[in-house]
């Protein structure tokens, strides 16, 4: 059903639906976002942690190899340093014989040139060159043909030290072997002590190819190298070997004040890198060197993107589901609300209409009642004047008998008019709601008795038989005037619409709801079915009552009064033989039965 206000109302319902949707979307979105963020964070952390672990493990491996090599070399060189010839060359002013003496001893150390080293394991122990430093750390230049590994003279000078270490030490140097490009070398510096005096005689410096991280499961994309003197010496192959990468790495590491220990992030070659670095040569004798290991974050970022999309997809799916659900839910929720709103709207309108109607009615009623009252009052006076005039005429006794009789009838008619006016007044007061009842306990039997008295006065020639069955102590709650009027009207009806020689039966009974008074009479003829519904209407008189005195207000008045007293008046029987009305009253409380 579409009502005039329906459009405004559906807009309200739609707003409600949208709000509900919004809340549901929020409920889906916020956890999805949180899950996404947490997942990303965890992933990044895990990835980094994994990378770092890989780096550490590989570095530990490297250190292990390095230490092994170091230890083996140190052992080897210690024994070499105690050799008589070396000692003799150093102690006996025979430095010219030093390299020659060492040549035989170190021959195997240099034996396998790096390019000819078949096995990687072999080359790890193979030095590319060696040099001796004297007791003051100065380089002892090898003789021609010393076979100590070729180095350009300028590079040789870099090997010199300010002071010889007391222990074998590591170090890294970027050197340019003769006719070669600059290369990074891992240096081992082994001090040589006199076997006799324990004095530090010299040091042996061995240059190796640096050990490279190996076996990092980071894949081919991994880049590692050694950071030395603001330069990254990356492994020969891989994306990190490009000069640009090295420059960028250098720049990135320089901004953080050198690599230090730990992790760094930087971008190069359109790629993000996670860089771990760790000092390689603890207590190194040359410039500090760091193992630098750069992991491209591309795959991780790729995976993160995938994860993001997955989560977004899942979120969207959940969202969609939520939307559908929320739609249904909001629909389900809003339908009753809608109905409620609709109903309340309808009710409000109806009430407003009813109120308006009521107001109109009430105003009309008021007006009618006022009119009736006014009319009655206006009528009473002329009637009274008329009667007074008629009675004066009668009292003069100047009229003939026929005229006097006519006058008598006229006077009687004024009484009737007065009575009608009284009734109308009463009715109009009732209609206007101005009739206030002063309820007291009224003895029903007294009422009946009084009414019967009046009736017998009026009975005239009818010779009616009256049966009465009324408990003497029956009291009803009511105002005596009006309850008497009810009984009077009914009895009058019973008399008026009775057949000559008929009977009237009055029965009063107390029942659960109150008191029921039944007044029946032998009927002239039955009330037709279509008339029965209208007999309580104002100014209605049955068709049979043409020659019966009355004006059609009695039953209406009786019923209105009965209802005013909380009871009712009903026609309970109407047939050929008998007409019977029943009036119900509320019984009076026993204790307050008699007013104080």
């Amino acid at each position: 059903m579409r009502l005039p206000f329906a459009s405004g109302f559906t807009a309200e319902a739609a707003r409600f639906q949208w709000r509900l949707l919004g809340v549901l979307a929020l409920v889906v979105l916020v956890p999805a976002t949180i899950v996404l963020l947490v997942a990303r964070h965890n992933m990044t952390r895990e990835e980094e942690h994994r990378r770092e672990t890989e780096f550490q493990v590989s570095l530990a491996l490297l250190r292990n190899v390095q230490q092994n090599r170091h230890a083996a070399l140190v052992e080897r060189c210690k024994s070499l340093a105690t050799k008589s010839r070396i000692q003799a060359a150093l102690e006996d002013n025979a430095e010219d014989l030093l390299y020659l003496s060492a040549r035989d001893e170190l021959r195997d150390l240099l034996a396998a040139a790096p390019d000819t080293a078949a096995r990687a394991g072999e080359s790890r122990r193979t030095a590319r060159f060696y040099r001796f430093l004297d007791a003051k750390g100065r380089l002892l230049v090898p003789e021609k043909g010393a076979a100590a590994g070729e180095l350009a003279p300028a590079e040789e000078d870099k090997l010199s030290l300010a002071a010889l270490p007391d222990q074998p030490r590591l170090g890294y140097l970027a050197l340019r072997p003769a006719d070669h490009e600059a290369e990074l070398f891992e240096m081992i510096v082994i001090p040589i002590f006199s076997t006799e005096s324990g004095r530090k005689l010299a040091a042996l410096v061995l240059g190796f190819e640096p050990l490279r991280l190996a076996g990092i499961p980071g894949g081919n994309a991994l880049v590692n190298g050694i950071w030395l003197e603001s330069r990254a010496h990356m492994a020969a192959a891989g994306p990190g070997s490009s000069p640009e990468f090295g420059r960028n790495l250098a720049a990135a590491l320089a901004t953080t004040g050198g690599p230090g220990e730990g992790r760094h992030y930087f971008s190069a070659d359109h790629e993000s890198w996670l860089v771990f670095s760790q000092r390689l040569d603890a207590d190194g004798v040359y410039a500090p060197a760091y193992e630098v290991c750069a992991f491209p974050l591309g795959s991780m970022l790729e995976r993160q993107r995938t994860l993001t999309w997955q989560i977004i997809g899942a979120g969207a799916a959940v969202m969609l589901l939520g939307l559908v659900l929320s739609y249904f839910l909001s629909y389900r929720l809003s339908v009753p609300v809608e109905r409620l709103a609709h109903d309340s709207e309808v009710q409000r309108t109806m009430r407003a209409e009813a109120e308006a109607a009521l107001e109109t009615t009430s105003a009309e009623l008021d007006r009618t009642a006022r009119f009736s009252a006014n009319a009655s009052h206006q009528l009473k006076t002329p009637v009274a004047v008329m009667r007074a005039g008629l009675e004066t005429l009668q009292a003069r006794g100047t009229l003939g008998e026929a005229d006097s009789h006519e006058l008598e009838a006229l006077i009687h008619q004024t009484y009737r008019i007065s009575s009608v006016i009284e009734d109308l007044l009463l009715l109009s007061r009732m209609d206007a709601g101005r009739l206030r009842l002063d309820l007291t306990a009224v003895s029903l039997s007294d009422l009946i008795a009084s009414a019967l008295d009046d009736l017998s006065a009026l009975a005239g020639d009818q010779e009616l038989k009256v049966e009465q069955d009324c408990p003497p102590d029956l009291h009803i709650a009511g105002e005596k005037r009006y309850t008497a009027l009810i009984v009077q009207n009914l009895l009058e009806n019973a008399r008026k619409y009775n057949r000559p020689g008929g009977s009237i039966r009055i029965t009063a009974r107390e029942n659960a709801g109150g008191v029921s008074l039944t007044i029946g009479n032998t009927a002239l003829r039955p009330i037709p079915a279509d008339v029965r519904a209208h007999i309580f209407e104002r100014f209605h008189r049955g068709a049979q009552g043409e020659n019966v005195p009355g004006y059609g207000l009695g039953l209406n008045l009786a019923r209105e009064l009965a209802r005013l007293h909380g009871g009712d008046l009903l026609l309970v029987r109407s047939d050929e033989a008998w007409t019977e009305f029943a009036v119900s009253f509320r019984s009076a409380p026993r204790m307050e039965g008699v007013p104080a």
Partner: protein, 215 residues
């Protein structure tokens, strides 16, 4: 046996030289030796030690010799520095330039005697006890020759090659005596270690006994 024989020969030669000139002078005295480090060695054996590249003996002894313009040694008999119980015997040998020194191996193991000293570089290679001929080296340049064994790194010996036939090794107290010296003006040198040699001028008359504490 051979050493004893050689020693006897030397003494005889010296005596002959003295009697031949008839004007032999003698210098005797005491060299103030560097403080000995460590415990007093009761016997008179000493070791060659090098400290800071300086070879000396422990306990310290000194070599006192007369430096002058002497003719080179003519057919001086060979002297021997043996290797016994992984040591050089004697550990300090003083010879005149032009002396041939034999290095017999008296141990039941290999030795490889060599020297990188600028005064004489040689390398005898490995040889056994019964190596024949006995490995020998001619020392013709004055100077300190540090003897080492390539196999036994601790072995040290010193041969002090001098241009003079007049030399002696002090005892561990520093006492010395140089006999049969020719008259004339000479430099008396005291070799304390490979870096420290002191000298002073001496004037020797015929048949004089010069009492001289050094330095």
């Amino acid at each position: 046996m051979k050493i004893a024989h050689t020693g006897l020969m030397l003494i005889v030669a010296g005596w002959l030289a003295l009697t031949a000139t008839g004007t032999a002078a003698t210098i005797e005295g005491r060299v103030t030796l560097p403080k000995t480090s460590g415990t007093t060695v009761v016997n008179r054996r000493y070791e060659i030690v090098s400290s800071g590249g300086v070879v000396s003996t422990n306990p310290p002894v000194a070599v006192v010799y007369l430096d002058g313009d002497f003719p080179p040694a003519q057919a001086t008999p060979a002297v021997q520095v043996g290797q016994k119980d992984l040591r050089f015997v004697p550990q300090l040998l003083v010879v005149q330039a032009g002396t041939r020194v034999e290095f017999p191996n008296l141990d039941n193991t290999f030795h490889n005697i060599f020297s990188y000293s600028p005064a004489k570089r040689f390398d005898l290679g490995r040889y056994r006890m019964d190596e024949k001929p006995v490995p020998a080296v001619m020392f013709d340049t004055p100077g300190v020759v540090v003897l080492r064994c390539e196999i036994h790194e601790h072995m040290r010996g010193v041969i002090l090659v001098l241009a003079t036939p007049h030399f002696t090794i002090t005892d561990t107290e520093g006492n010395y005596r140089l006999d049969g010296l020719p008259a004339g003006t000479y430099r008396l040198k005291t070799w304390l270690d490979s870096r420290t040699t002191q000298e002073r001028k001496v004037e020797l008359g015929a048949n004089t006994l010069l009492r001289l504490d050094l330095p």
